[in-house]
């Protein structure tokens, strides 16, 4: 059982305050959806938790099973069991997918996986995500289509087996087929042992990945919370009410 506990989190980019006190708890076995208009600070929450250097924490705390996440380096956070699937995965020239993934699995597990075992896991993961086997030899994210990048993020999720996964707009830019494949990957990952924080602008992915809790983000904080029915209301009414409320 794991718990990610975010308390009063305040985050700046430069001099500008983006997050203005976020409180949220994600436990194993739970799937939380964070929804909100563009610019509401959803992605900032994801990157601040992962430790991107662009974001400055000005207040609050983030604890993973009681351990102070904000005191950890970026790689330590990942090894502690946090995973961020990025909206815009970064191209790393000259580093093959298989080399990258093997290095990451080695780092997270603390020892190099047996080659045969790793190759089998990689192949199974790629098959499940309908990825061609040539994928492993390509350079990490280089020349990937939007859908390929997102599949590659979910492949990492399956191989690295984090405790809590934060998925930042994993659904954006996907066609229906890719959305279904990626959603199936997320659902395979969900279990009583894992927690998911799904950040999205659209309700579309929530038809495939049903959340237990829905939080509406606006103006750098959570302004409303509810169950799956809240997503349905947003689907019909949009974010306008919240945009006005925070303007």
């Amino acid at each position: 059982m794991s718990t990610l506990e975010i308390r009063g989190l305040r985050v700046n980019v430069g001099d500008k305050e983006i997050l203005r006190g976020v409180d949220l708890t994600v436990r194993s076995g739970e799937t939380h959806a964070i929804m909100g208009p563009n610019g509401s600070g959803k992605s900032t929450l994801a990157y601040a938790i992962a430790g991107h250097p662009k974001y400055t924490i000005t207040g609050g705390s983030v604890l993973l099973d009681g351990a102070d996440v904000l005191a950890m380096r970026v790689d330590e956070r990942a090894r502690a069991g946090l995973f961020l699937a990025m909206q815009y995965p970064v191209e790393v020239p000259g580093v093959s997918v298989s080399n990258f993934l093997r290095t990451a699995v080695t780092a997270v597990q603390g020892e190099a996986p047996k080659l045969r075992r790793f190759a089998a896991d990689l192949k199974a993961g790629m098959d499940a995500l309908h990825m061609d086997s040539s994928f492993a030899q390509r350079n990490t994210n280089e020349g990937f289509s939007g859908g390929e990048k997102k599949r590659h993020e979910i492949l990492q999720l399956e191989l690295l087996k984090p405790k809590i996964a934060i998925l930042d707009e994993t659904d954006s830019g996907l066609d229906v087929d890719a959305l279904r494949v990626v959603s199936e990957g997320i659902n395979r990952f969900r279990s009583s042992e894992t927690g998911v924080l799904l950040i999205t602008h659209y309700t579309r992915i929530l038809r495939y990945v049903t959340p237990d809790f829905v939080h509406v983000f606006a103006g750098g904080r959570i302004v409303e919370e509810g169950g799956p029915e809240l997503a349905e209301r947003l689907e019909s009414e949009g974010y306008e009410a919240y945009a006005k409320a925070t303007a």
């Binding site: 991107h52 990942a78 990025m86 790393v92 000259g94 580093v95 990258f100």
Partner: protein, 382 residues
């Protein structure tokens, strides 16, 4: 490019034919080159005080190499004098040190690769044992031969050399020059390649060791269809000066050239210089050329100078371009890898390997590729 011939030209002469401004003077006579002061364009990046007298006439031949030459069957070696017509045929010295080397060597070595030769690489292991050495090597590759020549520089000392490649019609040559010197070595060399019709020349320069390395790979064409690929990889550590000055002179139609140099620098006062000169003369219609230099600065106090010069004197070309960029490790690359649990030093190593990998894969000589991969690994472990 579709403009009328000559419209893009620089200065003209009495006949109206455009002249290149890039082509430095060349001469076999040392006296034609004044002792450099460091203010000259071709010397402004080079720390003259560390040249051990190669540039001002003070250096005299007082050293020796331990040479291990392995020749595949069919390839011959001979020692000849300066007046042998093959010596200097590929190109004349373009700076004072190259002219000094030409004036000072005792005997030139000529390797002859016979017509239609195929076989194992020629290997020349040069282990410097201290002192100053002037040398001249000519590799005469006859038509339709396919040859790989690997020169491996190790050890210490001061070396000024000219290396000439005469690449016959339809021949294919790969020339690898590895600079794996001890930390105090000084090495200045001019590489001249003269390409025949439909000849292919690949120059691979790998500079890792030495206090000061200054190499000038140059290519000229004598007939259409020539194809030159010049690739280079360097890794400058604290205090090292690694300089590569390239010139591709397109003077006949329908030839191709590609220049790709990549370097990494780390440590206080690590310095690299890349000069990429390409001339497309008025006669060289249908030229296809591209030159590329990238530098990765791994620490703050390193400096990479990168100067591409492309001089186009005809509008009728197939393609011409250059790109040059120097920068630090990309923070987004580091973040992405670290966000997957990979510690910063491992992430940095992965990125630098990635930076060089594609280039190493293009060397095309497997044992050299392995050696260079291992060398990059060793540099990163420092």
């Amino acid at each position: 490019m579709g403009s009328e011939k000559g419209l893009l030209a620089g200065p003209g002469n009495a006949t109206g034919k455009p002249l290149s401004t890039l082509h430095e003077k060349s001469s076999f006579n040392v006296e034609d080159f004044p002792v450099p002061t460091g203010r000259e364009e071709e010397w402004r990046f080079t720390p003259l005080s560390r040249l051990k007298g190669l540039h001002d006439g003070k250096a005299v031949q007082d050293g020796a190499d331990k040479v291990d030459l392995s020749l595949p069957e069919g390839v011959t070696a001979e020692l000849v004098d300066r007046d042998d017509p093959r010596v200097g045929k590929a190109g004349a010295p373009v700076d004072r040190v190259a002219a000094q080397a030409y004036a000072s060597f005792e005997k030139a070595t000529v390797l002859t690769v016979p017509q239609e030769f195929t076989g194992d690489p020629v290997r020349i292991d040069l282990h410097g044992q201290g002192g100053t050495v002037f040398s001249h090597l000519v590799v005469d590759v006859k038509p339709m031969a396919e040859a790989v020549v690997v020169i491996d520089h190790t050890g210490t000392g001061v070396r000024a050399a000219n290396i000439d490649f005469l690449v016959g019609d339809g021949a294919k040559v790969t020339f690898v020059s590895l600079q794996d010197w001890d930390a105090d070595a000084v090495h200045v060399a001019q590489h001249n390649a003269r390409l025949g019709r439909d000849a292919t020349y690949r120059s691979v320069v790998v500079s890792l060791g030495g206090d000061l390395v200054r190499l000038s790979p140059r290519v000229n064409y004598t007939a259409p269809g020539g194809d030159a690929e010049l690739i280079g990889l360097y890794f400058a550590d604290a205090g090292q000066h690694l300089e590569h000055r390239l010139l591709v002179d397109h003077s006949v139609p329908n030839c191709r050239s590609r220049v790709t140099y990549k370097g990494a620098l780390q440590g206080e006062a690590a310095h690299s210089v890349w000069i990429g000169d390409v001339i497309i003369r008025a006669e060289a219609e249908g030229t296809d050329t591209y030159e590329y230099n990238r530098n990765l600065l791994l620490t703050d106090a390193a400096r990479a100078d990168s100067v591409p010069n492309l001089e186009i004197l005809t509008g009728e070309i197939a393609g011409a371009g250059h790109a040059s960029a120097s920068g630090r490790l990309d923070d987004e690359h580091l973040f992405y890898l670290q966000a997957r649990g990979i510690p910063a030093d491992t992430a940095r190593r992965l990125i630098v390997h990635g930076f060089f990998n594609e280039l190493i894969g293009r060397i095309g000589v497997p044992e050299v590729e392995e050696r260079v991969l291992a060398a990059v690994e060793a540099e990163l472990a420092r």
